[in-house]
Every structure is written in structure tokens, then in C-alpha cells.
């Protein structure tokens, strides 16, 4: 009985004391509403936008991934391994194309920063690549733990770039992103994950 009494006291004390746990400040309603409206507008625009080169590449990579899933399912025979090998190759091609595009984008991003340019185009391109990154993370291309770790790093970098606001502290935020990339060796790891040679050579013989 004594213990039960103590438990009840503890629960009462706990509920009172825990009110200070991560006590939130006043809700920044208007600031969040403005960002929600902006983001919804951007996402809406993306749905009707013409096929820019980056969008085309994203759609192409997504299509190759979908093709891989289709081949995998269509040719799936538990007693053989050939069909699994076939879809693996398709994922491999999609991953190589995606990693090459991302490397090109991040290299451009750094070059733009050095030249003092941070514009809304970067955020748009990052969002397009982010879509493919998430598709990759949900595909067998991410089964390899090293590639998964790289994809998760890229996802975080792309999320940060996609939220860059060129007008409000964009340059400082961009510097922080590049510092983070350097600390985690994102670009060297990305480059080492891509087979050497130009794009046709990287995927040569795969299909």
C-alpha cells in the first residue's frame, strides 16, 4: 500500500514537473502560414511546369526505376536468380544516372556560391533531385548500406538547399550547407560511388 501511495505521488509530481519539458514558445503563426503558402504555391507550380532539363532527368530516372520494378515483378521466378540480376542492372543504371546528375548539381552549387550567386533556381533543382533521392531510398538501389548512407546524406543536403531563401540570409545558409558537405565528405564519397568515364561508358553493357 505504501508503494502504491508513493507511485501515485510520483505520478502527480511527474505530471507537474514534466510541464517544463521542451516548453514551447508562443506559436509563430503568421511566419509559418507565410511559408506554408509559399511552399504550396511552389509545389503547385511544379505540377504544371514545363519539362525543364532537370525535370526531364528526374522523370527519366523515375521511369528507369519504375521499369526496374516492372521487370523485377514480371520476371520474378523464385527458383532462378537471372531475373533479379536483370532488375538489379536497371536499378544500377538508374542509380548511376542519378548520382551523376547530383554530382553535377552539387558541383554547380559550390561554383555558384564561390561566384556569390544564390538564386531560387538552385532550390528548385534541389527539390527535383530530392524527389528522385527519395525514390532511390525506397528502391533496391538503397539495399547496399554504403549507398544508403550516401543517399541519406544527399537527402539532407538537398533538403537544406531546397529551403534556401536567396533573399533572407541565403548566402550564410549556403555557406553552412557547404561546410556540412565538407565535414561529411559528401562530394568525394559521391564521386567515388560513380563508375569512372562519361555517362555512356558508365552504363555501357549494363543493358
Amino acid at each position: 500500500m505504501m508503494f502504491e501511495h508513493d507511485d501515485k505521488r510520483f505520478d502527480e509530481w511527474l505530471q507537474d514537473a514534466a510541464r517544463d519539458y521542451h516548453r514551447p514558445p508562443e506559436t509563430p503563426r503568421d511566419a509559418m502560414w507565410a511559408r506554408i503558402a509559399l511552399e504550396r504555391q511552389r509545389r503547385g507550380e511544379r505540377r504544371v511546369i514545363e519539362l525543364r532539363p532537370w525535370v526531364r532527368w528526374t522523370l527519366a530516372a523515375a521511369a528507369v526505376l519504375a521499369l526496374g520494378i516492372g521487370i523485377g515483378r514480371w520476371t520474378a521466378h523464385p527458383e532462378t536468380t537471372d531475373s533479379a540480376g536483370g532488375s538489379d542492372v536497371v536499378y544500377q543504371v538508374a542509380a548511376t544516372q542519378y548520382l551523376s546528375r547530383t554530382e553535377a548539381f552539387l558541383t554547380d552549387f559550390r561554383a555558384d556560391l564561390r561566384a556569390g550567386r544564390t538564386d531560387a533556381r538552385l532550390a528548385g533543382q534541389a527539390r527535383d533531385l530530392l524527389t528522385t533521392t527519395r525514390l532511390m531510398l525506397d528502391s533496391p538501389a538503397a539495399d547496399d548500406p554504403h549507398r544508403r548512407a550516401l543517399l541519406e546524406d544527399l537527402e539532407l543536403v538537398l533538403v537544406q538547399i531546397s529551403q534556401l531563401d536567396a533573399g533572407r540570409g541565403g548566402a550564410r545558409d549556403a555557406d553552412l550547407i557547404t561546410q556540412g558537405m565538407d565535414q561529411r565528405n559528401v562530394l568525394p564519397k559521391l564521386r567515388s560511388a560513380i563508375p569512372s568515364g562519361p555517362m555512356p561508358v558508365r552504363t555501357e553493357g549494363a543493358l
Binding site: 508513493d6 507511485d7 505521488r9 510520483f10 505520478d11 502527480e12 509530481w13 511527474l14 505530471q15 514537473a17 514534466a18 510541464r19 517544463d20 519539458y21 521542451h22 514551447p24 514558445p25 506559436t27 509563430p28 503563426r29 511566419a31 509559418m32 502560414w33 511559408r35 506554408i36 511552399e39 504550396r40 509545389r43 548512407a149 541519406e152 546524406d153 537527402e155 539532407l156 565535414q183 561529411r184
Partner: protein, 180 residues
């Protein structure tokens, strides 16, 4: 305006109704996000993503439950998935720091009870911590928690009980504070 009218107006693209829906729920969403994340930037990001999804998916809301129930299910999904990503990222950074021998020295245990309590709550398993924060800190009912997390009410109660037991154990050396 009742909830059904509000939903119908939002579905029809009425901007004033969208803002009214946002105003009606944003405090609880932001508070829960902040309590779970412990970081204003993350809490704002999770709140924004929650409402973007709410507006995108409102057509799929069937009205079987209260709008708030559906909305808190989206909130917990966004927050918990977001926190898992942040945790994985921070863990890898910590591993990297350890590998390079530049990790910060572990701080000595703080004697202050509230700091110990905060750390003990932070250290709870995700399911226990979520239920504890929702129920004991933010005042959600077990029915609301069950609906938001997709678990039975009994599971919510059991997890709260285990969370409290773990906290009691973690704070055992401060027993006099609540017994007296």
C-alpha cells in the same frame, strides 16, 4: 461555422476557410511538434509540413472521425519520421566525431532534478516518450493518442505506465522530492 462547412469550404479552395482551419489547430500541432523535437526550427518545419499535407489530402478525409484526430495522426507521422531522419544523421555525425577522436567529453551528471528529468524523458524509447509527452505533458486522452498513433487505447495506457516506471527508476535517487 461548423467543422463540416469549414472542410467543404477548404475543399472548394476558400482561402479564408484554410486560414480558419489553420488557426483552429496550429497551436496544438506546433506545441506537440516542439515538445517532441525540442527545437524551434524542427518544430516549425514539422508544423508546416503537417498543414501542407492536410491541405493536399483533405479530399481523402472521409469524416469518420473528428478532423482533429485525423490531423494529429498526420502530425505524429510527420514528426516521428522527421525525428528518425535527424537521429540517423546525428548518429552518423557522432560516429564520425568518435572516429576522429574529436567528440566532446561526456558531461558530468547534473544534480538538478529537472535536468535529470529532461534527460530521462529524452532517453525513453520512442513509443514510450511519444505517449508520455502526449498524455502527461500535452493532455491528450488515450483515445486521441490511440487514434493518432494507430494503436489500441490499451497499448497507449500500457506504454504510459511503462514510461512512468522507467522515469521513476531513472530518478530513484531523488525520491524524497515527491515523497515528502
Amino acid at each position: 461555422m461548423d467543422e463540416r462547412d469549414l472542410i467543404n469550404r477548404v475543399r472548394a479552395g476558400d482561402g479564408v476557410a484554410e486560414r480558419a482551419l489553420y488557426d483552429a489547430h496550429v497551436d496544438r500541432v506546433y506545441r506537440l511538434a516542439y515538445r517532441l523535437a525540442g527545437d524551434d526550427g524542427l518544430a516549425q518545419e514539422f508544423t508546416q509540413e503537417t498543414f501542407i499535407r492536410v491541405f493536399e489530402r483533405l479530399d481523402t478525409f472521409r469524416g469518420d472521425s473528428a478532423l482533429s484526430t485525423w490531423l494529429y495522426a498526420i502530425t505524429t507521422s510527420v514528426v516521428l519520421n522527421g525525428l528518425r531522419k535527424v537521429k540517423r544523421f546525428r548518429q552518423r555525425e557522432a560516429d564520425l566525431d568518435d572516429a576522429h577522436g574529436v567528440g566532446l567529453a561526456r558531461r558530468e551528471a547534473e544534480p538538478d532534478l529537472k535536468i535529470r528529468l529532461r534527460r530521462a524523458i529524452d532517453a525513453l524509447p520512442e513509443g514510450y516518450r511519444t505517449v508520455f509527452v502526449m498524455h502527461d505533458v500535452e493532455g491528450y486522452t488515450h483515445e486521441e493518442i490511440g487514434a493518432a498513433l494507430g494503436v489500441e487505447t490499451g497499448t497507449s495506457k500500457a506504454q504510459l505506465s511503462r514510461a512512468r516506471a522507467k522515469l521513476r527508476e531513472a530518478l530513484a535517487d531523488f525520491a524524497g522530492e515527491w515523497v515528502s
